[in-house]
Amino acid sequence: MLEAYIKERRKSRDILLMTHIVMGYPSFEDSFDIVTQMVEAGVDLMELQIPFSDPMADGPVILTANQNALERGSTVQRCFEFAQAVSTRFYIPFLFMSYANILYKYGFDRFSDKMDQVNLKGAIVPDLPPEEGDDYIRAMKRNTLDPIYIFSPETSDERLAYVSSFASGFVYCMARKGVTGRETAFSEDLATYLSRCRHATALPLAVGFGVKEKADVDYLKGKADIAVIGSQTIRIVEENGVAAAGDFIHSLL
């Protein structure tokens, strides 16, 4: 259960870190290496993205990583094998991130059974809002997996409450409009929005989109439970190689 894990871990830490990788980018070996370094550097949770040909909510960095992973032969089958390998080896919770079609094609029931089998804890599917999620939610709950829902700065208070009613594990708060991988202003507006989120749910809050350095992570202390680092790790690995992943995580703590 993600919620209990996060709350327990928060007793001794001001904020937790969740990082993101695209499975099979730059290769499955590198992906494994990156996960190893991140876990050893102290990451608390990880999002494993199954690449999709049309990742609508992702910006250029993650989009290109998706494409490259697919060109290099990343398949859903191999992603499940990879997820099993890391979840067997490391004792932090791993989540899947992907787009609705990947789950739909596999079959929501079969997909969640398989997730459970390889010891994943939850999933983030940005193009599957609660209104379209009946089959998905049922399948996830049946395996006591957490469907992670998303709040955005555009979400009204009424809808925050509505979305919360489906959420479990934690809630993912987008720090701003737009796609992944752009600058975010860590400002008063963000604080106001996060306090709206805090009122809407008792679940832990994760904040992502534009979180890329220690100052951002520090800013979120006291306002959220988890800082999510997405595109920035991919950039770091692209610029400085796989071996830089661990140092990057250390620099955030």
């Binding site: 999709f52 609508m56 494409q67 940005p126 193009d127 209104e131 979400t155 009204s156 979305v163 796609v179």
Partner: protein, 408 residues
């Protein structure tokens, strides 16, 4: 999200959370105009003074004699301002944008017709305009890119994915999730999340409404069959809308490309190669692999080169209320040449798909029967592609000469 717009199993609104409020606003605005009788009058008045509506229904006497079967009529959407049916949808959405008080429009485009129409509307209404277009399409539709830019739009070549229509749609969504406060996304076809399929079909229904009246006035009876090409499905839905309650067979013609067995085509409903999926915010038949990754598509016509298709048409396919066929690149070029020679009419390569199929079927119908082919657009824009397809030596000489002038 109150109403999610399902057609049987297809449609829906698979939206990222950030866009939910924007779609709620759009749906409300669309509901308001649908129930406002003044709106449709304003729309028709605009289309008759700005875009040559009603467009004629032309009897194609020479083609009729050529095939010796059904009487062939052509609905002339090519005579619209900007040269295609796309303007019907665009002007409708333009009026809606004015009501919503937004100041910027964005659009995807494949053939460039929808991009030109949107840039035209933006110029007329005073909106800022950005058009996303796959790099491959930018290369094959340069004349339309030129006009979009002259009309004041910014054209952004999309270099990601397959670099064609679906990738342009993804980029337009990426723009929209950053700028929805000021910006409306003028989606160009009857696809995407609710309310787009319904809304685009609503504005395009002007085609079918006119065509039905025109054929009744001319023939005193309904046509036996009506034919339209199917990219996303907007011109087909437009024509079909006029005949939904009639004993008229509705035939949609998809891009057969280099042949279904070649794998290089865009036949979603007429082949067994597509399956239901969820992408670009809606559920429909997509050309995809077993993992759910979208496949590459091919067509000689940029406007039919798309992996998905209108959820309304997917439902009609399941229900058997419309029939779907395909025409290959070669058949299309032959149909285009014949129509030019026999009728002095230049269909767009997209439209020529409907012609090719109608020509195949016309001889087996009775001379008492009438059929209507929707000429969704004019072929002038395809001059480079057609010149290559017919391998015209004088055109090549001209281009080489022109290039030499620029190089001098």
């Amino acid at each position: 999200m109150k109403n999610r717009g399902y057609y049987g199993n297809y449609g829906g609104a698979f939206l990222p959370e950030i866009l939910v409020a924007t779609f709620d606003e759009l749906e409300q605005a669309f509901e308001n105009i649908k129930t406002d009788p003044g709106f449709w009058n304003d729309y028709e008045a605009l289309m008759s003074s700005y875009s040559c509506r009603p467009t004629p229904l032309t009897f194609a006497g020479n083609l009729t004699r050529e095939f010796g079967g059904a009487k062939i009529y052509i609905k002339r959407e090519d005579l619209n301002h900007t040269g295609a049916h796309k303007i019907n949808n665009v002007m409708g959405q333009g009026l809606l944008v004015q009501q919503m008080g937004k100041k910027r429009v964005i659009a995807e485009t494949g053939a460039g017709q929808h991009g030109v129409a949107t840039a035209t509307m933006a110029a007329k209404f005073g909106f800022d305009c950005t058009i996303y277009m796959g790099e491959v399409d930018v290369a094959r539709q340069r004349p339309n890119v030129f006009w979009m830019e002259q009309l004041g739009a910014t054209v952004v070549p999309v270099k990601t994915g397959t670099r064609i229509l679906k990738d342009a749609i993804n980029e337009a969504f990426r723009d929209w999730v950053s700028h929805m406060d000021t910006t409306h996304y003028v989606l160009g076809t009857a696809c995407g999340p609710h309310p787009f399929p319904e809304m685009v079909a609503y504005f395009q229904s002007i085609i079918g409404t006119e065509a039905r009246q025109q054929i009744l006035a001319r023939e005193g009876c309904l046509p036996k069959r009506v034919y339209a090409c199917v990219g996303g499905g907007s011109n087909a839905m437009g024509l079909f809308s006029g005949f939904l309650d009639d004993p008229v067979e509705l035939v949609g013609v998809e891009a057969g490309g280099k042949g279904i067995t070649s794998g290089q085509h865009a036949s979603r409903l007429s082949s067994k190669e597509a399956s239901p999926g969820i992408a670009q915010g809606y559920k429909t038949y997509f050309l995809q692999d077993d993992d759910g990754q979208m496949r590459e598509t091919h067509s000689i016509s940029a406007g039919l080169d798309y992996v998905g298709v209108s959820p309304i048409l997917s439902h009609m396919q399941d229900q058997g209320t419309a029939r779907f066929e395909s025409a290959t690149d070669m058949e299309v070029v032959a149909a285009l040449k014949l129509t030019l020679r026999k009728e002095g009419i230049i269909p767009a390569l997209e439209s020529a798909h409907a012609f090719a199929r109608a020509f195949k079927e016309a001889p087996s119908l009775s001379p008492e029967d009438a059929i209507i082919i929707n000429q969704s657009g004019r072929g002038d824009k395809d001059i480079f592609t057609v010149a290559d397809a017919v391998n015209d030596p004088k055109w090549k000489e001209f281009i080489i000469g022109k290039a030499a002038e620029y190089n001098a």
